[in-house]
């Protein structure tokens, strides 16, 4: 119950201090039979308020483990994580998560799906219903609020999932390869839309991906992780304008960032 209170105190603009996310020397080991697998080793990173940070790394670099630790579903073996300044000791209520698949509930309409956090956390229905409609408007699905998920395309479903993740005004939006299952064209569109959403909403975002160009295009900082065990290889500032058209991907600066990140994986022999 102490967790729930901590979560409410950490809503944006409610006196929380420090970065949106603070990961402090997190190590996570799993037992697999007689062996111990180290998924994460001494990972430290932070996301400042309103910042867009991407984590890029190949499969097996512990990205998803880190995400579960951040949400409080896993406890780290050592180290700790803070969100909005409060220590994570169990599942929290002030995080929005978007997974690789939209994970919409087929028996709920689009609007009811967006309302899920309000239902789970028993939040005020009237104010959150209004907010849900606003968010659907923001992701361009206002006309689809009474449809069911199986009437929507993959890209539309993922936009519903994003609206749902933002409903309870989380201190941070965690995105775990959210566009990985979409086709390349839709994926680019979603990237542009996500940037627009981020600029208008003043949301702090931690975005996990294994696409290097996607990370460079979206983030103001890119955390490069290497696998087995998952370690932070470099944290790279992306010095590109906040307003980024898709064409920026053709610029030499963009190419230089991509090449620099790719060099990390070249040096450890991982091609992704």
């Amino acid at each position: 119950m102490q967790v729930a209170n901590a979560g409410e105190a950490a809503w944006p603009g409610q006196g929380a201090v420090g970065p949106a996310i603070d990961v402090n020397g997190v190590t996570k080991r799993f037992r697999a039979g007689a062996d111990t697998i180290t998924a994460l080793e001494d990972v430290s990173l932070d996301v400042r308020k309103g910042e867009f940070v991407a984590i890029v790394g190949p499969s097996g670099c512990g990205k998803s483990t880190l995400l579960k630790i951040l949400t409080g579903l896993f406890a780290p073996s050592s180290g700790d994580t803070r969100i909005g300044g409060t220590l994570t000791t169990g599942p929290r209520r002030d995080i929005g998560v978007v997974f690789q698949s939209p994970l919409l509930f087929p028996w709920r309409t689009v609007l009811q799906n967006v309302m899920l956090p309000a239902d789970v956390q028993k939040l005020n229905r009237t104010t959150h219903l209004a907010r849900a409609k606003e968010l659907l408007d923001l992701v361009g699905l206002a006309d689809f609020k009474d449809r069911y998920p199986n009437e929507l395309s993959g890209g539309m479903q993922q936009r519903v999932a994003i609206a749902r993740a933002l409903l309870h005004q989380p201190a941070i939006l965690l995105m775990d390869e959210p566009f990985g299952a979409l086709d390349a064209m839709t994926r680019e569109r979603m990237n542009v839309e996500l940037l627009r959403l981020w600029r208008t909403g003043n949301t702090s975002i931690l975005f996990i991906t294994h696409s290097i160009p996607e990370a460079v295009f979206l983030a103001s900082r890119v955390v490069v992780m290497t696998p087995r065990p998952g370690r932070v290889a470099e944290i790279l500032d992306v010095d590109l304008p906040a307003r980024r058209p898709l064409e920026i991907m053709n610029s030499p600066e963009f190419g230089a960032y991509v090449a620099r990140i790719r060099a990390h994986f070249g040096s450890v022999g991982v091609i992704d």
């Binding site: 579960k68 929290r92 995080i95 239902d119 009437e151 539309m156 064209m185 569109r189």
Partner: protein, 270 residues
């Protein structure tokens, strides 16, 4: 797609299927008369329909149908409820699962109809033994499907609710139960047929009233036309009950009925 298109009901197809039905009945009537098949082996459809009409008109069939229907519905309701509750228990509590599942597996591999004579012996000729036989046979179908349905939930969906601070009860109520509904309804569909089998078999073995008892006594007096007419009543009863479950399934699992409209997407680039 190599799949053949489905045949839609139209005036033409419906009238063709009626013609086929009438022709088959006619062929049956003709064969019985032409080959002079004794009435105690296979009755002619005409004598079967005569028996059916007589039974309905005198009110005899309706009275026994009422008894059998109540037994089936009670057996189904009790068996399905117990099967659902035990399924929920086994799927959500690993101690219950560990200690109870071995018995479940043993009982499941046993042909439950074989228990019917004992049940009639223990619980007598009245309604109780029929309800218990029906409940026992239909119980497993619901329980096994409930367990399978509750367990077939993606872990990511559970994590989603948990990451919002949701409790295990909320995960069950908001996610597991609705996800399991299609499985549970499939179990209920089978269970209703099973309950009917249990009740009829128990009535065969010993009863004072009910369609099974009526059919058994007609068999003893070589009234095969009467037996056939009861089979017709049972077929109509089974079909009606099955339709009701399917209707309930459509209403409860409304989201399954909506056609996918993934191609008709006005906003995504393809």
């Amino acid at each position: 797609m190599s799949e053949a298109p489905p045949i839609h009901s139209s005036v033409k197809t419906v009238s063709l299927s009626i013609v086929l039905f009438v022709a088959l009945i006619g062929l049956w009537e003709f064969a019985v008369r032409y080959f002079k098949v004794p009435a105690f082996v296979v009755p002619a459809p005409s004598s079967m329909f005569r028996a059916l009409y007589g039974g309905i008109e005198s009110g005899l069939y309706l009275e026994h149908l009422g008894v059998t229907l109540v037994e089936i519905l009670l057996g189904f309701a009790i068996g399905a409820s117990l099967g659902f509750l035990l399924g929920v228990g086994i799927a959500t509590n690993r101690y219950l699962a560990y200690f109870l599942y071995p018995y479940v597996v043993v009982l499941q591999s046993l042909p439950k109809v074989a228990l019917a004579p004992l049940i009639v012996l223990w619980f007598g000729l009245g309604l109780t033994s029929k309800v218990i036989a029906g409940a026992l046979i239909c119980f497993f179908a619901v329980m096994v499907n409930t367990i399978a349905g509750l367990r077939a939930v993606e872990q990511d969906r559970v994590d989603l609710i948990r990451s919002l601070g949701g409790s295990h009860f909320q995960v069950f109520w908001m996610l597991r139960l609705p996800s399991a509904l299609p499985f549970i309804m499939a179990g209920l569909e089978i269970a209703l047929t099973f309950a009917m089998i249990g009740v009829i078999v128990a009535e065969f073995l010993g009863a004072e009233r009910g369609l099974g008892m009526l059919m058994q006594s007609m068999n003893f007096s070589m009234d095969v036309a009467g037996s056939f007419s009861i089979l017709v009543v049972l077929a109509i009863l089974g079909l009606t009950l099955n339709r009701i479950v399917i209707f309930a399934r459509r209403r409860l699992i409304y989201w399954e009925q909506r056609p996918g409209a993934r191609d008709a997407d006005p906003t995504d680039a393809h």
